[in-house]
């Protein structure tokens, strides 16, 4: 989702040092490098994706974020980005704590399970929702811990994690999400992008 990349790039200052956890084929890393001259590093599990990053000349470490984040020293990056993978971890809380240790700030984006189409699907059709941002069916989804924008807000509050900024993305529109508009934005955002730490 190009819009997501744009929002993430806008949250990051030029020339900063960024670790992209679950960097896939390196599209976001490439975008950040070209747009903001960001010094990027990636962590990626899949061999084919790792190779794609290497072919593009992007530094990438093959490894599992669930078990191998310990290799990155404390505060070794300005920012750590986790794009739409938090819900796929066995222990998202542990991973998030690790990201906050490695980066001075963390950007987490989540597919919003509170989006109205998702709610409709479950409420009226009684089926697990399959949408553009949630393309898998219940039996082959990698997503273990789906949550809504409101859930992640609550989580940060409970765990004393400082929320600096939250952006909701719906199609081509983006909007700032605050406590005051949380209910409505939680209904109309496909994606939530959190800047925390």
């Amino acid at each position: 989702m190009k819009k997501e990349f744009r929002v993430i790039a806008d949250l990051l200052p030029n020339n900063s040092r960024v670790l992209d956890v679950g960097c896939g084929d390196g599209s976001l890393m490439n975008f950040l490098k070209e747009e903001k001259n960001i010094e990027v590093r990636g962590l990626e599990l899949d061999q084919e994706n790792v190779q794609k990053c290497i072919n593009k000349g992007l530094p990438v470490i093959q490894g599992n974020a669930e078990t191998e984040l310990h290799q990155f020293p404390n505060q070794s990056f300005d920012y750590v980005v986790l794009s739409q993978t938090l819900q796929a971890f066995y222990e998202p809380e542990k991973v998030l704590k690790n990201l906050l240790r490695i980066g001075r700030a963390v950007i987490v984006s989540i597919p919003n399970f509170g989006y109205w189409k998702v709610r409709v699907k479950l409420l009226f059709f009684g089926e697990m929702p399959v949408t553009k941002t949630l393309p898998n069916t219940w039996y082959n989804t990698p997503n273990l811990h789906m949550c809504t924008i409101k859930d992640l807000f609550k989580f940060c509050d409970e765990k004393n994690i400082n929320i600096k900024k939250v952006v909701g993305v719906n199609e081509d529109e983006t909007s700032l999400i605050k406590k005051s508009n949380l209910e409505i934005k939680n209904l109309f955002s496909k994606l939530g992008i959190f800047l925390i730490g």
């Binding site: 061999q47 190779q51 000349g57 530094p59 470490i61 290799q71 990155f72 070794s76």
Partner: protein, 389 residues
């Protein structure tokens, strides 16, 4: 079949015709001794371009030599890395200038224990100084100077070659734009020291070895050396790979012979590998080179440990390991990655899934070769751009 002495004579004659330089600059070895005016044999492939920005230095492994690809003129067999290096291959010699030198302590033309000791005009044998990985690397740096290469596009090597590479980057942090250590370690493990000791003891137990003095008699402790090579060959394969390749298959026979001949294919394979090796390698060289590997401990060299060794690195690293390699495990390779990360270096890492064991880096492993090619080609683009700026 020529006699072994005849074979030696023939090999030595061939070795006299290979490329070498004489390094006049005295080299102070880690053991405290100094060598000077010594030969360093090397080979190059491809052409160095005008900007001198397409040079790739390859470090060879324990039993390798400078003949990376094409036909080795001494053994008449394929070069040891013919799968990866050559025209149109992952390390494309139509595009890049590939350099490889025989390590000192070796036996393919560089200064080694079978050379003549100028002090007594006898072959060195055990009077040859104990050398280290660092000594090997320093000698090769002189070759780069000789070739007029200020900065390599890339340096790479597997196994002991990878260890030389790590040492090279730590000792000469500005000499390589990029580096690919493959299936190696930053310090030799207890298991690897033990296996090397097994190889050395096999050689020393052969009466022909005679405290290393066999050279002047034009003989070779071939039984001991063959066993040493067999130990190596077992460690280069994986349990699964060996089972799949040999299983319990018998060697050209229907049933057991009830003897100690090579009934099993795996036995026959080891004997063949062992005895083929004695025709091209010097037993004392194995002692010296394995010792250099055992002494290798990069974190010991630097007070702050491995992180300190890689401090101020501008080199871009790609570390590669193989999932079934039990000699230089994924964990050991990852420790290198962790240290590079901690020192802030630019590092990539890939673990190739294969059941071919440590040998994988010499074999036709498509994922490995693709990764190698992708990295080198992208680094070349970056290096050219950087030089332009």
């Amino acid at each position: 079949m020529p006699s072994l002495a005849g074979l030696f004579f023939w090999m030595n004659r061939k070795i006299e015709n290979i490329n070498k330089i004489t390094i006049t600059k005295p080299l102070k070895l880690d053991c405290g001794k100094t060598v000077k005016n010594f030969p360093l044999a090397y080979e190059t492939y491809g052409k160095l371009n005008e900007n001198k920005d397409n040079a790739i230095l390859v470090f060879h492994a324990l039993t390798g030599d400078q003949f990376v690809t094409g036909t080795n003129p001494v053994t008449n067999k394929d070069g040891w890395w013919v799968t990866a290096v050559g025209p149109g291959k992952a390390i494309d010699t139509d595009k890049y200038f590939v350099i490889c030198a025989n390590v000192i302590g070796g036996c393919m033309g560089s200064l080694g224990p079978k050379d003549t000791n100028p002090e007594n005009n006898q072959p060195y044998g055990l009077d040859f100084p104990v050398i280290t990985i660092k000594d090997m690397v320093k000698a090769q740096e002189s070759l780069l100077e000789h070739l007029g290469i200020k900065k390599l596009l890339c340096a790479t090597g597997g196994s002991m070659g990878g260890m030389q590479l790590l040492q090279f980057c730590a000792t000469f942090p500005d000499k390589a734009f990029s580096a690919i250590p493959i299936a190696c370690s930053s310090s030799h493990s207890a298991q690897n020291i033990a296996l090397n000791e097994l190889a050395r003891q096999a050689i020393m137990a052969d009466p022909v070895w005679d405290n290393g003095k066999y050279v002047s008699k034009n003989v070779q402790p071939k039984n001991g050396l063959a066993v040493a090579r067999m130990v190596g060959h077992i460690s280069y394969l994986s349990e699964k790979g060996m089972q799949e390749k040999f299983g319990r298959k018998l060697q050209e026979k229907a049933d057991y012979e009830f003897s100690f001949n090579a009934d099993f294919q795996v036995e026959s394979y080891l004997r063949h590998q062992g005895y083929a090796f004695v025709e091209r390698f010097d037993a004392n060289s194995i002692l010296y080179i394995t010792r250099a590997m055992d002494y290798f401990d990069l974190s010991k060299q630097f007070k702050g440990g491995l992180v300190e060794a890689f401090k101020n690195q501008n080199t871009k690293f790609l570390v590669i390991s193989f999932s079934s390699d039990w000699l230089y495990t994924t964990k050991e390779n990852k420790d290198i990655v962790i240290a590079l990360n901690a020192s802030g270096a630019d590092v990539s890492y890939s673990e190739i899934v294969t059941d071919k064991g440590h040998d994988s880096f010499l074999l036709n492993e498509p994922e490995f070769l693709k990764t190698l090619k992708g990295f080198i080609d992208s680094m070349y683009e970056k290096f050219k751009n950087e030089k332009r700026i």
